[in-house]
């Protein structure tokens, strides 16, 4: 019987089978036909040969091609067609075993010579398709249109604020907002955007740009409209670092970059790299690098992989943006010249055992040296019989200016003073038995002749934190006793203040210990960017949240025993901010913001703003508060003389500001008072209306009894005064 439509198996019967999702299996076993021509290339410019010479030529070419990538099926992979005259036409098709090899062949063999007369061109078939067809490429040259000049926004507009207020960025929840600091009053919002960044925000070092971090890369924002200024496409970027003068930018991602073909920003050069150094003005990558792992075990005792700490920033910038350097731990320091990013003198500086290095943060003015060169400081540990060593090296001349040998060194940290006047090497030394630890400070006076070294070795405990006064000669350090094993509470710490002795003339005297405050929990030091004032804080602690505000040049009376010191130390105030995680001075040194960030814990997130004396101006609790960062200011344009003049006439200027403050406060107060007056008046009005209505309805306001009755009741009441005396205890005592 012929199948009729009625007999055809209905679709429903197949349903059961179709309900099962086989798509994953299909995908796995599906035979994929190679459809694209990515593995094919076209060779051109070959010699024209008759048919009998063809195999010879193919063999010759094959040899050349196989040096780069494997040609599929050997000689059969090369097709060299003949024309009607029985001659080759000078071209051939080649199939490689993979598109990758084809791409490599294009890159490496295109334009290579076969013999004296012939140069081979190698192109992808797909490119020939794309560009070779008629009409695809315009034969006539048309000059690119010159884009009309557009006035860009002023990137430093915020400095023109008439009240010289400072800006701060606040990142809370999903919102990033920039605000003017208004002291006690709520900060004035300039802009607020949701999802402005995916990880965190960061200012560029001179405050020109606000940096946002995205999965696709880094974006810089600026100008009064907060428009996007630059983009740096570093996929998966984790960290960003600017050069000090905002000319260059380093981005780093934990994962090596994978560059897909056709990426408009990155080339194969960046593939597999972790670091990219960018030119900020053009937005183009200059050079890329892979992360250098610090030596150490890759697995812990249980065999789990250890999370390696990365050095950040690994690429350190010289103060003039001319050099960037990276250390290969224990071996060498590679210094690159900008903007070409070539290795200085084509070779790394070999320093055996090098542990750490730091650039001078300013161009150092060394005694009797005319041409100021950049300088960095490095240290090496004890190696065999040779002692540990601290050295200062100039760049580009690579001259070692000063070295110093040290013994029994467990660790060293390098701290530059902000003007590169001093570098303090904090040396943790162990006793011979390696049981007890102590810290020495080796202070190199970089600007003095011969770079003398002064040693401060009166410290018993280990120094956990050290900070120079910016632009000054004084420093603060925190020492901690040894951590008992398995102790829940960190040991108590001591805060010590040092300053130079008073001396005649301009020379800076020897460093002297002023005072030590014992039994503290402090672990962090924050100097005012202008010096003089310092906040010593306890951060990231569960128990203690102290903020001590110190003045190094207190204007009150000076203690007799301190008379030789170039300082007059005074604790101005102590504040407390529960759960404080970050402390930030504003760039003018007028205010201090403290933050309890949700990055660290979720309890009572928010910020406080103090003035430099430690008076709390404002506190605000904001859920999921993440960051508060003051916008940095570029260096002042005033000359030294002008600054001196301002300082001299400070009283005159300050008078104006005091008046402004007063009038503003008055205006603010007036508004508040006016609002209160209105509230009070409308309330009184409302009350009278209510009472009137009730009295109209009921005759009295009190429901219990009428007013008159109450009065009568009061009159009727009789006042009875009753005095009750009660003997609680009787005791006899003998009085001798």
């Amino acid at each position: 019987m012929a199948p009729s439509y009625d007999n055809l198996p209905s679709d429903e019967e197949n349903d059961i089978e179709e309900e099962i999702d086989f798509s994953d299996l299909y995908e796995q076993y599906d035979v994929r036909l190679e459809e694209s021509f990515d593995a094919f290339v076209v060779l051109d410019g070959l010699p024209v040969v008759p048919d009998e010479n063809r195999p010879k030529l193919i063999k010759f070419i094959l040899k050349k091609l196989n040096a780069v990538g494997k040609v599929r099926d050997g000689e059969l992979g090369i097709t060299m067609p003949l024309n009607d005259n029985g001659m080759t036409d000078g071209f051939a098709f080649v199939e490689f075993s993979s598109p990758k090899e084809a791409a490599a062949a294009v890159k490496q063999l295109n334009g290579s010579a076969i013999d004296k007369k012939h140069t081979m061109t190698v192109n992808k078939v797909s490119d020939i398709e794309r560009y070779g067809r008629e009409g695809r490429v315009n034969e006539e040259y048309t000059p690119p249109p010159v884009v009309k000049f557009e006035q860009k926004e002023h990137l430093r507009w915020w400095l023109k604020d008439i009240d010289a207020r400072d800006q701060m960025v606040m990142f809370r929840g999903d919102h990033v907002g920039v605000f003017w600091n208004e002291k006690e009053d709520p900060p004035e919002q300039i802009i607020d955007r949701q999802h402005w960044t995916e990880a965190f925000v960061q200012w560029s070092p001179l405050g020109t740009f606000l940096t946002s971090i995205h999965a696709q890369g880094v974006q810089l924002w600026g100008g009064e409209s907060w428009s996007r200024q630059k983009r740096f496409a570093h996929p998966g970027v984790n960290l960003v670092d600017f050069s000090p003068n905002e000319n260059f930018l380093t981005t780093w991602s934990h994962r090596p970059i994978t560059v897909e073909e056709g990426n408009p920003f990155l080339s194969a050069e960046e593939d597999g790299k972790n670091y990219i150094i960018w030119d900020l003005a053009t937005g183009k990558p200059l050079r890329s690098f892979v992360t250098l792992d610090l030596p150490g075990p890759t697995t812990d005792e249980q065999g789990n992989p250890v999370k390696k700490k990365i050095q950040w920033p690994a690429f350190k910038w010289s103060s003039d943006d001319k050099y960037v350097a990276r250390m290969t731990f224990g071996q060498s320091i590679s210094v690159y010249e900008l903007p070409k990013m070539n290795l200085l003198d084509k070779t790394s500086i070999k320093i055996e055992g090098v542990q750490d290095f730091e650039w001078a943060p300013a161009s150092p003015h060394r005694d009797s040296i005319r041409e100021y060169e950049q300088l960095f400081c490095f240290w090496t540990p004890e190696l065999g019989s040779s002692p540990a060593r601290v050295g200062l090296m100039t760049i580009p001349s690579k001259e070692i200016v000063r070295t110093r040998n040290l013994f029994n060194v467990s660790d060293a940290k390098l701290h530059w003073q902000s003007d590169a006047k001093y570098v303090c090497v904090k040396v943790d030394r162990h006793s011979k038995s390696k049981k007890s630890m102590a810290t020495n400070l080796e202070i190199f006076r970089v600007q003095e002749k011969g770079v003398p070294v002064e040693v401060v070795d009166s410290l018993k405990d280990t120094v956990i934190n050290f900070a120079w006064e910016p632009k000054g000669d004084r420093f603060v350090l925190i020492t901690a006793g040894e951590m008992p094993v398995n102790a829940a509470v960190p040991p108590k710490t001591s805060v010590s203040f040092f300053c130079p002795e008073k001396s005649k003339g301009t020379a800076v005297g020897n460093f002297k210990h002023i005072r030590t405050i014992d039994k503290k929990n402090s672990n962090a030091i924050y100097w005012s960017p202008k010096g003089r004032f310092v906040v010593v804080a306890t951060i990231h602690s569960q128990q203690s949240f102290e903020l001590d505000f110190w003045d190094m040049d207190f204007e009150g009376d000076k203690d007799e025993k301190d008379k030789d010191f170039a300082a007059n130390l005074q604790l101005m105030a102590t504040a407390e901010h529960y759960g404080v995680t970050d402390v930030e001075w504003d760039p003018t040194g007028r205010y201090v913001a403290t933050v309890a960030s949700v990055f660290r814990h979720a309890a009572e997130n928010g910020y406080h703003i103090y003035d430099f004396r430690g008076t709390l101006l404002r506190e605000e609790a904001i859920e999921r508060f993440k960051q508060l960062l003051w916008r940095p200011r570029p260096p002042s344009l005033l000359s030294k003389e002008e600054m001196k003049k301002v300082r001299k006439n400070l009283r005159e200027y300050s008078q104006i500001f005091i008046e402004q403050d007063a009038s503003r406060r008055d205006a603010g107060n007036r508004a508040v008072i006016e609002e209160r007056r209105q509230k009070l008046e409308s309330w009184l009005e409302w009350r009278e209306e209510q009472v009137r209505r009730i009295i109209e309805e009921f005759g009295s306001i009190d429901g219990f009894m009428g007013k008159d009755e109450e009065k009568e009741a009061e009159d009727d009441a009789e006042v009875v005064e009753e005095i009750v005396e009660e003997i609680i205890e009787e005791r006899e005592e003998e009085i001798s």
Binding site: Y578, A603, E604, A621, I673, R676, R677, K679, L680, E681, W683, L684, W686, R687, E688, Q690, V691, R693, I694, E697, F698, I701, D702, G703, F704, M705
Partner: protein, 340 residues
């Protein structure tokens, strides 16, 4: 002045109340006992025994002769203040969450809890102090709340209205005589935990778990003022004499991860009633404040806490002297009550 600590209860306080003269404080707690205290020195005057379950609520009539209580043993009871004699017990199918006398003391209101088989309702009984134990068994009025259950309720001036606070943040207004529904607003987003009256009952304050308290006009239910805090509120009171309100609350222990006193925010908060500004806080409790009550004479306040203590505070001279500049200017000196 140092507060007086009343430590006569073994479990969490649920309500504290001053009598009209402000010399006696009544407190009820989950430990089944009603206590009466002298407010001046914190001496315990007596206790009222009889309830079989946790007590939720207490109220005293304007002449300080009768005391009403309600609790989880499904009874509402009437006591003689002076002797501690139990005059009357009314039985219900569910617990009594709130009792309140009318301004003239001739009516007593009770709020019954919603439970399977029992609706939430407001019951009103006529009270006659002369009759002693012979109080009426029949309620004079019964309002059935058939939507979001009632949590608190009270009589307006002259018992004209009954104002009811609901679990969903609504406040409704009913006729005090007929029980007829009149009006409704939704000032809060979560449970209304307390309603307390201004001295003349022309307005009241509501406290809610949504961390705010609101001042609302009785007649038109207009929201006059709003006080937003950072913690769920259990109670709010309006101070006589000075124009303040006192808010009490705190994160319930089950809702906080770290239960330090600092985190829990167990403080009584003083706000300026008219300017809606926080003026100060009083610490002391180490559990949430379940109720704050003010002395009707305006000389002090007390708070009952989850921690089992009642703290009685007497205001200092500075409290009475303090006034905003504007208040001095307009001659109120922070005391608009006195003008009526």
């Amino acid at each position: 002045m140092r507060p007086i600590l009343l430590s006569g209860h073994e479990r969490a306080l649920t309500q504290v109340k001053y009598n009209k003269d402000g010399d006696i404080i009544f407190s009820v707690s989950k430990d089944h006992i009603v206590c009466a205290w002298y407010s001046a020195n914190g001496e315990r005057l007596g206790t009222y025994h009889g309830h079989q379950g946790a007590l939720w609520t207490v109220d005293v009539d304007p002449t300080s002769t009768l005391l009403a209580t309600g609790g989880a043993d499904n009874t509402m009871r009437l006591w003689e203040v002076e002797t501690g004699k139990l005059l009357k017990t009314w039985d219900f199918g569910s617990s009594i969450k709130r009792v309140e006398f009318s301004p003239d003391g001739r009516q007593l209101l009770g709020v019954t809890e919603k439970r399977v088989g029992h609706v939430s309702s407001i019951v009103v009984y006529d009270i006659d102090a002369e009759k002693g134990t012979e109080q009426s068994d029949e309620h004079a009025l019964r309002i059935v709340i058939d939507y979001s259950k009632a949590t608190v309720a009270g009589f307006s001036y002259h018992a004209k209205y009954i104002i009811v606070g609901h679990e969903d943040g609504k406040i409704s207004q009913w006729d005090g005589k007929t029980g007829e529904w009149l009006n409704e607003i939704e000032p809060h987003e979560a449970d209304i935990t307390d309603i307390q009256w201004a001295p003349d009952r022309t307005y009241f304050i509501s406290a809610s778990k949504d961390k705010t308290a609101k001042l609302i006009g009785t007649t038109d239910l207009e929201i006059m003022k709003s006080y937003a805090t950072d913690t769920p509120l259990n109670s709010a009171a309006i101070t006589p004499i000075k124009d303040y309100v006192i808010l009490g609350g705190g994160q319930a222990a089950m809702d906080v991860t770290t239960t330090s006193a600092r985190q829990g925010k167990f403080e009584a908060r003083f706000w300026h009633k008219i300017f809606e500004e926080e003026i100060g806080r009083v610490r002391g409790h180490f559990g949430p404040l379940n109720y704050v009550a003010v002395d009707p004479t305006g000389k002090g306040y007390c708070s009952g806490g989850e921690d089992g203590y009642v703290r009685v505070h007497h205001f200092d001279k500075t409290y009475f002297d303090f006034a905003y500049e504007v208040e001095r200017e307009l001659g109120t000196n922070g005391t608009t009550q006195a003008r009526i």
